[in-house]
Structures are given as structure tokens and as C-alpha cells.
């Protein structure tokens, strides 16, 4: 009897240790400082071709993830001054089967994609997006030629890319779903400037959200280190990667 109680106590003690370790690891899992960024709803729209619930979501890409954005929010809680990131959150939430309009403000500079496949827009309404910049143009590629910001676009040169917003569903959720939008570079050089007065380009596009479930997005522009420039920030969860919850 004494040994039975002892055994139960012993197992409980060790399980407690295991649970504590689990708690530690969940905490290590990156949590955005503002939590999930929820889309705002506006009146039904026909932007997606037919009358639908309209949702808006705005966020930005920053060259320096250690600072705060113009709304005073921390760009990234685990911020690293040398790493770019999406902010102020990397986890988004939108309604199912809605017309979602995303506005991404791009502050970062850019370069060439590993795979030119990602230079064109796929999965948005009309496979296009709109760009607006406070700069008329930046020097782009081939070198010497300039990249001019012009309204609606389907494709940009594969070496004028700042980041991409590339999204697909988690396995088993919405198999056909695929969305990829290249965001053009906002300026040349290593841009550490995140304010509205800095060089920036604002990209707007709409897509129809799929059924309920979780979707994973990441950036396909190689902005990290090491092999394929996909080490460091690209492989660290929460900077150039995140989720979209469709509820």
C-alpha cells in the first residue's frame, strides 16, 4: 500500500516536471505582442465580383524588427535589429467566405528571388494588386534601369522584389487554396527606416477567403542568411512566417 502511494506520487512528480517543461516550450513558441490581428468588417462589397461580406486587414513589413511602428506598437516582441519582419502581428484572423482586402505597407529594400516563379500574383481577385508609393521610382534591375511604381500590377521583375506574401492552407483544410503576392522593393540600400515619411510602397489586394481553418503564410523572398539565404530570419518562426485563421 505504501509503495502504491509512493508509485503514484512518484509518477505524479515526474509528470509534473514533464508538464513544466511543456509549459516552458509553449512559452518559447513565439507570441505576437498584440495577439491575433483581426480583420475589420465593413459594408458588403462587390470588390470580389459579387456582393459579399467585406473585411479589411492592414499590416506592414519592416526592415528593422526591434522598433515600434507608427501606431506605437512593438513591431516584434523578440525583435532583432538586423532582421526584417511582418508586423505588428504575424497571426491574422478573417471570416470564412468573405472578400478580404489586405493592405501591406512595405518599408524594406529588396533584390532577387531564388525562384522567379514568385514574381507574379496568384490567387487574388483578378490575379492583380495595386501599389502606391511615396517615391516615384527606385533604381532597379537590370542595374541602371529604374523601377517605377505604377498602379495595378500582375507581375514585377524577379529582382525588384522586397518580400512576398505567400499563403496556402494547412494540410487537409482547403487544398486548392494558394495565394502569392510579390511586394516590390521600397528603396535601395539597407533600409532601417520604418516611419510614414520613409520610402514605402503600399500594396492592396483582395481575395476570397476559403472555408474555416488555419492557413500558413510565409515570405519567399530570400532575406535570411546561409544556404539559399533562407537561414536565420527566414527559418525563425514569427518574423517572415505566420498563420491566418479563417473563422
Amino acid at each position: 500500500m505504501r509503495r502504491t502511494i509512493g508509485a503514484v506520487g512518484f509518477v505524479a512528480l515526474l509528470s509534473g516536471i514533464v508538464a513544466l517543461v511543456g509549459l516552458g516550450f509553449t512559452n518559447q513558441t513565439y507570441h505576437s505582442s498584440i495577439g491575433t490581428l483581426r480583420a475589420t468588417t465593413s459594408a458588403a462589397t462587390t470588390a470580389c465580383g459579387k456582393p459579399m461580406v467585406a473585411q479589411q486587414l492592414s499590416f506592414a513589413t519592416y526592415a528593422d524588427s526591434s522598433g515600434t511602428n507608427s501606431a506605437g506598437q512593438l513591431v516584434h516582441p523578440g525583435g532583432n535589429p538586423n532582421w526584417p519582419s511582418y508586423g505588428p502581428s504575424n497571426i491574422f484572423s478573417v471570416k470564412a467566405h468573405a472578400c478580404v482586402t489586405m493592405t501591406i505597407t512595405q518599408f524594406d529594400s529588396g533584390g532577387a528571388l531564388n525562384n522567379p516563379y514568385f514574381d507574379s500574383i496568384q490567387g487574388t481577385v483578378g490575379d492583380v494588386a495595386t501599389m502606391v508609393s511615396n517615391q516615384p521610382s527606385v533604381s532597379g534591375c537590370p542595374s541602371g534601369q529604374s523601377f517605377t511604381y505604377k498602379g495595378t500590377y500582375h507581375q514585377i521583375s524577379p529582382c525588384d522584389v522586397g518580400h512576398t506574401f505567400t499563403m496556402r492552407a494547412l494540410p487537409g483544410v482547403d487544398p486548392g487554396f494558394f495565394l502569392s503576392v510579390p511586394l516590390p522593393l521600397a528603396g535601395n540600400g539597407n533600409n532601417e527606416c520604418d516611419l510614414d515619411s520613409c520610402p514605402k510602397v503600399t500594396v492592396t489586394f483582395s481575395f476570397i477567403s476559403g472555408p474555416k481553418g488555419t492557413y500558413a503564410w510565409n515570405c519567399e523572398f530570400p532575406c535570411g542568411l546561409n544556404v539559399g539565404n533562407f537561414g536565420a530570419v527566414m527559418s525563425a518562426y514569427g518574423y517572415m512566417s505566420g498563420y491566418l485563421h479563417v473563422v
Binding site: 516563379y117 487544398p175 527559418s235
Partner: protein, 282 residues
Amino acid sequence: MSSEHPDLSADATVASPPLKPDAKENKKNVTVIAALWLVLTAIGIALSIWLTSALLPSSMSTEMGGVRSTVLVFSLAAAPVVAFVLATSIYSLLAWRKAPGSADVPPPDAPPLRGNAAATGIWLLTSSVLVVFLLVWGLSEWSAQQVVQPNDLVVKVTGQQWIWNFTYPDAKVDSHALVVPLGRQVQFNVTSLDVTHGFWPVQLGQQVDANPGLVTTIRVTPTHLGHFVVRCSQLCGLYHAYMYAQGDVVTAKAFEQFLEHHGASAATSAKVALLAARQGGQ
């Protein structure tokens, strides 16, 4: 603490076992084990047939058909072996378990049996025959898969962190979904832009790694229309779990439509050329 060595002579003399096993007893053992073995083998065969058809995905290509038949045949070949080991070990527990003299005294020693050349020989022979069978089966299946059909379709598969894309060089089309025509052999030329990925069109029953700087090749011949999934089977970093693509086996006519729909626009063909140059130059 006792510094005495335990007395050994006691152990050697206490037990005066029957030195020769009883022949009649042996016959009974063999009979029961054989019966048990037959029963278990039958169960094993039934399980093999049922599990193979219930668990493995239905065959969408000749290669997946090969996987299914290989698994079934190997299971059938293994069933008697497993049944034999289980039959003897279960029987040993049922029939030969001896109550100890007291709590801490072992049962009396059993008749010694230091080996049996015939048993060892038969065992070796049987396992060798099985191994040869496995090898011959495997090699014939494998060599059948190496045959290149004329007029095969070439699809270039590019893996990168964490997305697949597929290029149809002849039609200058690239896509994030894999579409292949029914009944025509498809050759996948697989490569990677960064780290090693595993190109695994699950229901087509073949896979090969995508290695940066190298092109690896597999061939499949789709035999059934339908949907399949392309997975990454090699851990490739952060989003390995999400590195998958959709695939479809479609009729030859639908396949032509697919190529036309994606259209050989100037931009797409330029991209295909760039990608080819990028991979060749790396």
C-alpha cells in the same frame, strides 16, 4: 558484508536433472506447436490481405500497384515466420513454465540442449530461400520500373523552402499544382533551389529527393483518374509540414486544355527559361 565466496559446489550437485529429454514428450510438443503455428499463420495471412487493402491508398499508377503487391507478397511470406516465433514462445510459456521450488529458488535445471545441427541448418536454409525470394521479387519490380516508354512527358519539379512548383518545359508552362495525363509515362526531373527536399507524389507510389545543384529522376505511369497529394518527405526546415502540393491525373484531352489554359505567354516562357538557366548554372 560477507567476504565469503558463495559456495558453488552446492549448485552443481543439488539438481540432478533428467539428462535426456523424453522423446514422447517431444513429439507432443511438436504437434501442439505445429497446430498453433498453422492457426497463427492463417490469421497472419488474413491480416496481411485485409490490412494491405484497407490501409494503403488505392493504386493510381502502375508503380503504386507494385507497392501494393510487394507489401502483400512480403506480408504473406513473413506470416509463417512470425507465426512460428509466436507459436513457440507462447507454447513455451504455457507448457514449460515451472513453479520455482520456493520464492527464491529456481526450478530444477532443464535437460541441456546445446545445439541441433538439423534445426540450425533448416532455419538457415529457410531464411536464405526467403531472402533470395525477397531479392528476386524486389529486383524484378524495380527493373520493371526502370523501363522508359517512348513519348513520355517530362515535368520539371522544383522544390524550395517550402513550396513545390512544376514546369512543363515543352509547353512553357509553370504551375503550383501538378497535372499529369492518364496512361502516359511521366518523367519527373527533380531539383531543389536550397536544401534537400523529398518529392513524394503519395498515391503514385514513387519518391525521390530534390537535391540542390543536381537533377534526380523518377518515372510513373498513371493508371487511374483522380486526385493525389505531393508531399515533402525530407525534413526541410520551418514549414516542412506545409510543403505539399495538389495533383490530378486527368484525361489526355483535359491535360491539353490545362496547358492551353495556362497559356504560353511571353512572361511565362521567359520565366521558364530563367528558372532553367538558374538551375543549370548553380
